[in-house]
Symmetry: C2
Subunit: 390 residues, 2 copies
């Protein structure tokens, strides 16, 4: 993966082709399909998924995405001869909770014909929808098939692949959930045309993360195609998505339950999650928070001699090119407690990834590589947060 | 398993010995320990479960069992040096729902020190507690370790082993949940002294079920020791529990996700579940409903020539000896809709085990064996229900 520069096209030519990225997990293996104008084709792709037909299909979406794309998806599924129903919930991370989960579970179980073990649940939406629909699929009848149709760049490149599902608790994000791999992920980059720029930028933050920890050539591509990406060019986005899904798939295949390598995907998330939590849901996008977390983590790595000053500057420059924040000053609306070192450190210690009071950090180690460190001390964290003061 | 009559002691001598029954599921293997006066010993058994200590322990129990045994369990766990907290919910199947689940999840996630990935969740109670605590363990932080301490015979011999967890939906029983194997099951038969006779009898119904589908010699033992069992003799109960756990463990090991053999455990449940649902929770115990379901299923098997009239009579006689119902007349308080053929058939078609409108029946096939049949027709179901008229 790291020596892949030669295989990585530096131009956007020949990119308008559907790409299939296999996620290898033994009996739970599946494909992620990335392309343009895939939505109308979903029904026939479902038919190819299993020899015995799905008995019926429940489509879970939210109040933002439902009005845009649910009718087209429903028509596509029905055209393939499958009974299907759309169940919609109010959009927003604040609704990714047990109350919404319980309500959706009861609505889905009340459908007629009833959901049975050969039913399929689909998610149509961003990360919130995918997490919610995936958790429903993991738990209805103790687990039924799931197919995800993500509609945000963040979900395309990160959340839709890997089988993490769940909802937020009052005590923190994603504290309740299950590992439940989808049967397929269908990524239609065309759908990103309707995505607000802020969310496009948020997704690009995760792309930078993947590039830093695993694929130096991908960082080159992001830097070179920043303007095409920011204008939501479908073919360029599809190329980036396919590349990022491949990085994520390789990591997930090696470590499905996040006991080792998969933890590298948390690069930028130790401080990033703390900023999101302290700011309150909605004050900062996930990609923005992770961008700040990556800048801070790079500073820890620089002080340890794991990366060069040039490398650190390169990361900051790429983030800025993609309109991602690299200093507190880039997010003037962020509440002051979200920038407070004592507050952030308190939250980090309560993160579910903290084990017995030790905060773990993923740090870059040279170009396109990273490692997990359990020995980062308070002084280093303070120095890392200080760099965000600009 | 079927030719095990010679290994099966027909007397209760030498039974006061702790028995360990392994459940073989690869990396998810665990032991079920059955004995007397085990409760005080739980802490030290937990310490042996993992080299690295559990970071803390949450004990989930209900308002019936908590006042009886939670203090002793808590003391035992703390004596082993582990931080532990008891979380109690109102007893009763009517509380095994998503509302209680959500409330317990938030209470557990608010504990300090916080639950982390090395925390242990324990269940202390009957099947409702085990299902609820197991589902919490399956979903807190996307899955943490679980140890079950069942306190009813039904949970001892059936629910505690196999990894099925979950809660009821408004649309039916156990429609929401997950497969999550425990790290250990600790069965203290002494605890059954406090069990109401009706619940003891309910558990014996499941023992009869196991014997019919897999272990003819066990049926002999149940028949011979009926009075010792009904008087809650600890050593005799421990013997029966160990034998039944072994039957269940063998079936679960062969088919963890219930795609084949494990479905045999649903013997008596097709009609039994329908009777429970139609009667409303609490109108009939699980064992009573399953007993009626077994009598009905035996009649279908008899009409198909799968068993003899003598075999059918033997099943009915053993159930009666154990104070289990074999006719509607044995349950005078049962609401009339729970005996109505049209109502029961309607419910069976909506059971989650029904696939595309076909109701499946497990039927006995000779002595100590059974098989799954998907071709039972309406006329046979009517004839089976008619036998319950007496």
């Amino acid at each position: 993966m790291k020596n892949s520069r030669a295989k990585w096209s530096s131009t956007a030519k020949n990119m308008n082709v559907t790409k299939i990225i296999p996620v290898s997990l033994g009996r739970r293996s599946y494909d992620v399909t990335v392309g343009l104008d895939l939505l109308d084709d979903v029904g026939s792709r479902l038919a190819a998924l299993r020899p015995e037909r799905f008995s019926n299909v429940g489509i879970v979406t939210d109040s933002h995405v439902g009005p845009l794309y649910a009718a087209a998806l429903l028509a596509s599924v029905r055209k393939a001869g499958l009974a299907a129903t759309v169940v919609e919930f109010p959009a927003g991370e604040q609704n990714k909770n047990l109350t919404t989960y319980a309500s959706l579970a009861e609505r889905l179980l009340a459908l007629r014909p009833a959901i049975d073990r050969r039913s399929l649940l689909m998610g149509l939406g961003g990360g919130v929808v995918g997490d919610m629909a995936g958790f429903l699929a993991a738990t209805l009848l103790r687990g039924i098939d799931f197919v995800n149709v993500p509609t945000t760049l963040l979900a395309d490149v990160d959340a839709s692949t890997g089988g993490k599902t769940g909802v937020d608790s009052q005590a923190g994000k994603n504290l309740i959930g299950a590992f439940h791999q989808p049967r397929a992920v269908l990524v239609d980059a065309t759908l990103l045309k309707s995505l607000p720029t802020e969310q496009l930028v948020s997704g690009l933050g995760e792309c930078v993360k993947h590039a830093i920890i695993r694929d130096q050539a991908a960082l080159d591509f992001l830097e070179q195609h920043a303007s095409a990406l920011l204008s939501a060019d479908g073919a360029t986005l599809a190329e980036v998505i396919a590349r990022n899904v491949a990085i994520k798939a390789a990591i997930v295949s090696a470590d499905e339950r996040e006991s080792g390598t998969r933890a590298l995907l948390n690069f930028g998330h130790t401080i990033g999650h703390a900023v999101e939590t302290a700011g309150g849901y909605g004050a900062v996008s996930h990609g923005q928070a992770v961008a700040l977390g990556m800048v801070a983590a790079c500073r820890i790595a620089l002080r340890r001699g794991l990366i060069t000053a040039e490398h650190e500057a390169r990361v900051t420059r790429t983030l800025a090119l993609l309109h991602l924040p690299t200093r507190w000053a880039d997010l003037p609306a962020l509440p002051s407690q979200a920038k407070d070192a004592a507050t952030l450190k308190g939250i980090m210690l309560h993160d579910k990834k903290a084990l017995a009071g030790v905060v773990r950090f993923v740090l870059p180690v040279g170009l396109g590589d990273a490692a997990l460190f359990a020995d980062v001390n308070t002084e280093e964290v303070d120095a890392a947060l200080a760099v965000l003061q600009g």
